[in-house]
Structures are given as structure tokens and as C-alpha cells.
Amino acid sequence: MVKIKSLEELKRIKEQAQNSVSLRVKGDNIENMIQIRVAMATCGIASGAREVMNEFVEALGEEKIDNAVVTQTGCMGYCYAEPTIELTMPGKDPIIYGYVDKAKVHEIIDKTIKHGELIDGIINSQHKTIE
């Protein structure tokens, strides 16, 4: 380890380390987080769910949206529309988007997450999240 010789260096270490605990800080306040769950059963993975998940993580990071968490879930039963994601805005019912690809990820972030606008591709708005 390199010695920390000033307040600025301490701050830098803090920023680097921030990532390691930020997920836990969010978890402490999960009710107020935007939750994105990517369906990652075999059908989802085969149609690119893993790439979608990574794209979400990266894009949210780039956009500095730090009140969102991305996790995965099993098959949600919409195999025909994979990759599918479940999006839960705080205090709202979850919605499901189907046929999500990289471009769609950005559209969801720009429109739904940032401005609360629903976009095409919702396949079920009466969906109950699986616990």
C-alpha cells in the first residue's frame, strides 16, 4: 500500500473504495431505489440477457444515476420476448419490458428512468414481482 500523505490522497482512496460499499448503502435504502431485474434463465441468457445486464450497469454508471440497482431473476414466464427486464420505480408497480437490447437499455434509461415516460415494449403491466 502507498502511504496517504494528504487529505486529497485520502479522498482519492475513498472514491476508489466507494464502489465496494455503495451497493450496501443502496441496499440500506432499497425502498427508494430504482430496481432493474434482468431475467437470466437459460432462455434469457441465450438471447443476450447477460449483455443487457452489463449494459445497464455501465450505462447507469456513466449517467451517474446512483439510485438504481441491477440484479437478476429467474424465468419470468415471457420466454417468447427475451431478454426481458422488470423495472420497479420507487413506490410504483413493477413493469416488464420485453425484447430488450442495448439500444433499448438506453431508451429505458433516458425515457422511463429519467422522465417516468413509458415506452413501447411493455409486455405486462399487471405483473406481480416474484419474491
Partner: protein, 597 residues
């Protein structure tokens, strides 16, 4: 570096570790790797979550799911269901005893609702073996602020303003103590952390050291800067191996970062910490005895003054504070004295950590704002009395404290209120008793402890506690008289007024407080020779109710000493001179024909 999408926190507190939390962690790691998710999911061990009753605890993030009573065998299901499929494992969730509903987020559990974590802020949240996680939580920022923006005098002023009082027992204002230590001029001064924690049933300090050792290190360095000391010492009992490990790791990491050592953060402030091990004597928690023990002498107290601030370790000015006191310090500088003052009561700002134990549903470690009532602690956080029994008393302050009863339940807890009620805060042990506990026997338990732990230096304590415990033994054996009670009271007062150190001065408290609130119980022991709680074996009597006895002979056949006689289908009798009061007969009789009184 890909970001982890999940964190799995496994409790590494002593309670959970003794129920295999290490194996749980290994099994989780293995299953995560097998599922091909090692890149996505980080498994780590933290300090105690507090809810030890429900341990081992495993917490899943980001969705904040709190799994209880986890076994290594459960790891596969947790990974396959929760991580891979995003489904909670229902059978491992906490079940609310009130409405039998599953609760997955700790925030919604009664146990946590009224808690507020300052000293325990990082326990169960960070990996205590990784200083970066502490730094990520603003660790060492308070030290940096003090060193670069404040003079030592300003640091002391801020401490005084915060109103923080020592959590080691007496509640002495911390800022004032620092000011005294600063006032004595010397090239060599010491900052000491008292981690002796000898109160039976207490594990607050251990949990802080195990869960967040850096908070103590940082605070000691701040104090070093404030009082002008370069040397820090942590006096810790050797029987806390995990705490010692975590503290040693933290000290080494802090040194590597240059947060301990010479020219900290590029300033000319130098400070380092060494560990010193105690053999686990209760009296060594008393600060003068602690200092003698650190010097390699017998752990015996000496009279104050001189106070350690004037002449302590190697006769140099020394500032001793308790582990929990230290853990509060960095936050005060981060959030300000005014913020700290806004929590708790006017005369006792902040929070207090308690170790809840005894006949209570939720045994564990809790932290509540000062001013919370005993009722809230026992019935809401603690979940009430075990097995639906009736609450009888709660002992605070350990062997130096006293019993509080039903009528005290609505008293807001703070240093002064507890003293006014005849008990004290002590270090934070809280032992709950129910209707089956016999108060003279409780007093006897504590007196046997202090008698055992008395260092023997002064007569009132050495001989006095022995006599007190003899008197209590007589009383609980049915050999007491009303004179015994007079003698208990008189002797207690003499010891309280004449013993040399706090151990002796407070040793009679359990006797005096139980005598005061449960005098009837003492009188029953000495005049009627009965134990109303049915606890004192020597005073119990088993009898067969002739009318109810069917003469089945079962009891006679099972009595280990052949004390029961009788013939088939005729009422049996117990020979009291032979009976050893084991209770076997009463437990076995199918006709409830045997009574105890």
C-alpha cells in the same frame, strides 16, 4: 474491474462464528463460483449484526434480505434461488412472532425499528479486515479534519460541546477528561483504550472491536493530537482472540497507509498504537489497576488522586477511555457536536449500546438513543419475556448495578436516571429476569462474582464480600434469620463507604437494591423458610396430595434416592429426610398429584 452486482454478508461476530459462520461463508463462495457468478457476487464477512438470537445471520444485497439461523447446507439454496433466480428463500426469513408474517428487510423488524446505530454504525456493514471499506464510509476523514483544520484546543472544545460521556461505566464527560490530560505538561503522554470488558454477559466492546476496529484507532489518534500524546495502548483481554486479530490487522493496515506512524497525513503529528494483553481480571478494568497491569505489576487499584490524567502509565499523563466511547468520537467530528447533542437526552447525549441477555426473547446487541425507556427495550426491541412468563426485574450495570422493576419500566434510560433509581448504567449489560428468578439468589450470584474478583488489597472488600456471600448462602439454604438481613444491610453500607476502589464500593449494590425492592422475598426465606420463586433447592418441599394420588407407583420406582414409599393403588408418601429435591417425581406423575412449595 466489473462491479459486483450482489454482496452476501456473513456475520463474523463471535456468536455466529461459534455456529459455523465460517463454513457458511466458504460454502457460499463455493456455490457462487460453481454457478459461474464469482465476478458478479462478492461474499464477505462482517462484524455482529446484533440479532445474535437468530444467528447465524446472512444478509443479501442490494435487496437487503436478512436470512436467519442459516446453516452451511443452506448455501446451495441461497445461491441457486436468491442469486441466480432472484427468489427469496422463504424458510430462512425471520418470522414476526406477533402476526407470523415473514419479514425480509431488517428495517421492518421490531428488533431494529427503535435502534439507532452510531457506535455500531459499521458493524455488520463493512469488512473489518479491510481498511478501504472503513475509509469508504468516511473513515479517517475525522482525523484528517482535526489535523488539518482544527487546533488541539478546538478539538477538545468540540468534544466538550458534544456532551459525550464515558461509556465505560461512570459517565465522565470525555472532553473534560481530554482537557485535563492536555493540561499536564510532559514530553511523553499516553492514550489508552480500555478493552477489558469484564462484566458478566457483556459483549458490546468486543463486538465493536470485532466489527469496526478502525473507528477505535482513528479516535485514539484524534485524542493523541488533542492532548499531545504520541503513544497509544489498547489493553485487551487475551480471551478475546478474534477482537485481537481484527485489531492487529487494522493497526497494520493503518500503518501501511501511514495513518499511524510518523507524519500522519503529511502533518507533523506522529502517533502509534500497541496492544497489551490482560489476563481477564474484572478489577483490571478499573483504570488505575489497568495501568499497573500494563506496567507488569499486580493488577491492583490505587487511590485517586492522582488521576491518570496527571500520573498514569509510567507516571506520565494518560487518558483512558472505553472502547464504545472511542467509537463515538469520529462521528462527532464528521457530523458535528450539535448533531450529537440532538440525540439522546439533555444530560446524556447520544446513544448507548446494550447487551440484552437473560429471560428475553431477542437476546443480542442493541444500540438505542439515550432516553429510550426500559419498556421499549424489553418489550419492543427485546420481544418480551421468554415463554410468556411474567417480567420480574432487570439488572443494569452488571455486578456494580442494581435491579429495576415493573415500576421503573417507563423511566427513560440515561446515566442520571438509572442512578436515581438505585442502579447504574455500567458498561451496558442488561440481564432480564422473570418470575422464576429468586432475588436473594441473584444477589448471591453477583456477590460470588465480586468476591472471586476482589483483588484482596483492602479489607472491606476482601473480607466484606466474603461475609456478604456467606450471609446470602445461609439465606438461600434456609439457615437465615431476620438478623441476617440486618447484617446484610449494615455490612453493605460499610463496604460501600470504605472500600478502596469502585469494585468494592459498588459490590453491595445488587444486595441493597434487591433488599429494597424485594424485601418480602428475603423475609420469606428467613422466616417461613420458603423460596417464593421456587428456585432455592434447599427450601423446596415436594409433597404428594393423598387425594389425588392413584397409587400407580411410578414415582417410587423413579426416585433416585428411594424417598417415596407406598403400595399399589394407595396414596404414596415422600420421606422428607431422604428427598434430595430433584423434582423427578413431580415431572413424571401423570395425575398431577405431586406439588412443590
Amino acid at each position: 474491474m466489473a462491479d459486483y452486482k450482489f454482496h452476501i454478508l456473513v456475520c463474523g461476530g463471535t456468536g455466529c462464528q461459534s455456529s459455523n459462520s465460517h463454513e457458511i461463508m466458504e460454502a457460499l463462495k463455493q456455490n457462487v463460483a460453481d454457478a459461474g457468478m464469482a465476478e458478479d457476487c462478492k461474499v464477505l464477512m462482517t462484524g455482529c449484526f446484533g440479532f445474535c438470537e437468530q444467528g447465524p445471520i446472512v444478509k443479501m444485497l442490494p435487496d437487503n434480505t436478512f436470512y436467519t439461523s442459516v446453516k452451511p447446507e443452506d448455501a446451495a439454496e441461497i445461491v441457486a434461488e436468491h442469486i441466480v433466480k432472484g427468489r427469496k428463500v422463504q424458510r430462512l426469513l425471520y418470522v414476526d412472532p406477533e402476526n407470523e408474517e415473514h419479514v425480509s428487510d431488517a428495517k421492518h423488524m421490531e428488533f431494529y425499528k427503535k435502534q439507532m446505530r452510531i457506535a455500531l454504525r459499521n458493524c455488520g456493514f463493512i469488512d473489518p479486515e479491510n481498511i478501504d471499506e472503513y475509509i469508504a464510509r468516511d473513515g479517517y476523514a475525522a482525523l484528517a479534519k482535526c489535523l488539518t483544520e482544527m487546533t488541539p484546543e478546538e478539538v477538545i472544545e468540540e468534544m466538550k460541546k458534544s456532551g459525550l460521556r464515558g461509556r465505560g461505566g461512570a459517565g465522565f464527560p470525555t472532553g473534560l477528561k481530554w482537557q485535563f490530560a492536555r493540561g499536564y505538561k510532559s514530553d511523553v503522554k499516553y492514550v489508552v483504550c480500555n478493552a477489558d470488558e469484564g462484566d458478566p454477559g457483556a459483549f458490546m466492546d468486543r463486538s465493536i472491536l470485532e466489527g469496526d476496529p478502525n473507528s477505535v484507532i482513528e479516535a485514539m489518534a484524534i485524542c493523541g493530537y488533542a492532548i499531545g500524546a504520541k503513544y497509544g495502548r489498547v489493553y485487551i483481554r487475551a480471551e478475546y482472540p478474534l477482537a485481537i486479530d481484527r485489531l492487529s490487522i487494522a493497526i497494520n493496515q493503518a500503518r501501511e497507509y501511514g495513518l499511524l506512524g510518523d507524519n500522519i497525513l503529511g502533518t507533523d503529528f506522529c502517533f502509534d498504537i500497541e496492544l497489551m494483553f490482560g489476563a481477564g481480571a474484572f478489577v483490571c478494568g478499573e483504570e488505575t489497576a489497568l495501568i499497573h497491569s500494563m506496567e507488569g505489576q499486580r493488577g491492583e487499584p490505587t487511590t485517586k488522586p492522582p488521576f491518570p490524567a496527571e500520573s498514569g502509565f509510567w507516571n506520565q499523563p494518560t487518558n483512558v477511555n472505553n472502547v464504545e466511547t472511542w467509537a463515538n468520537v469520529p462521528v462527532i467530528f464528521l457530523k458535528g457536536a450539535d448533531w450529537f447533542r440532538s440525540i439522546g437526552t439533555e444530560k446524556s447525549p447520544g446513544t448507548k449500546v446494550f447487551a440484552l441477555a437473560g429471560k428475553i426473547n431477542n437476546v443480542g446487541l442493541i444500540e438505542v438513543p439515550m432516553g429510550t425507556t426500559l419498556r421499549e427495550v424489553i418489550y419492543e426491541i427485546g420481544g418480551g419475556i421468554k415463554n410468556g412468563k411474567k417480567f420480574k426485574a432487570v439488572q443494569t450495570g452488571g455486578p456494580s448495578g442494581g435491579c429495576l422493576t415493573e415500576k421503573d419500566l417507563d423511566t427513560p434510560i440515561d446515566f442520571d436516571n438509572l442512578v436515581a433509581k438505585g442502579s447504574m448504567m455500567g458498561s451496558g449489560g442488561m440481564i432480564v429476569m422473570d418470575e422464576d428468578d429468586c432475588m436473594p439468589a441473584v444477589a448471591k450470584f453477583y456477590l460470588e462474582f465480586t468476591q472471586e474478583e476482589s483483588c484482596g488489597k483492602c479489607t472491606p472488600c476482601r473480607v466484606g464480600t466474603t461475609r456478604l456471600s456467606e450471609l446470602l448462602t445461609d439465606i438461600t439454604n434456609g439457615k437465615g434469620t431476620l438478623q441476617h438481613l440486618e447484617e446484610l444491610k449494615r455490612l453493605s453500607e460499610v463496604i460501600r463507604d470504605t472500600a478502596l476502589c469502585g469494585l468494592g464500593q459498588t459490590a453491595p449494590n445488587p444486595v441493597l437494591s434487591t433488599l429494597r425492592t424485594f424485601e418480602d422475598e428475603y423475609i420469606a426465606h428467613v422466616t417461613e423458610k420458603t423460596c417464593p420463586a421456587g428456585k432455592c433447592q434447599a427450601l423446596l418441599k415436594y409433597e404428594i396430595i393423598a387425594d389425588a394420588c392413584k397409587g400407580c407407583t411410578l414415582c417410587a420406582r423413579n426416585c433416585p434416592v428411594g424417598a417415596i414409599s407406598g403400595t399399589v393403588k394407595n396414596p404414596h408418601v415422600i420421606d422428607q429426610s431422604k428427598c434430595i429435591k430433584c423434582g423427578v417425581c413431580m415431572n413424571n406423575c401423570r395425575f398431577n398429584a405431586i406439588v412443590r412449595h
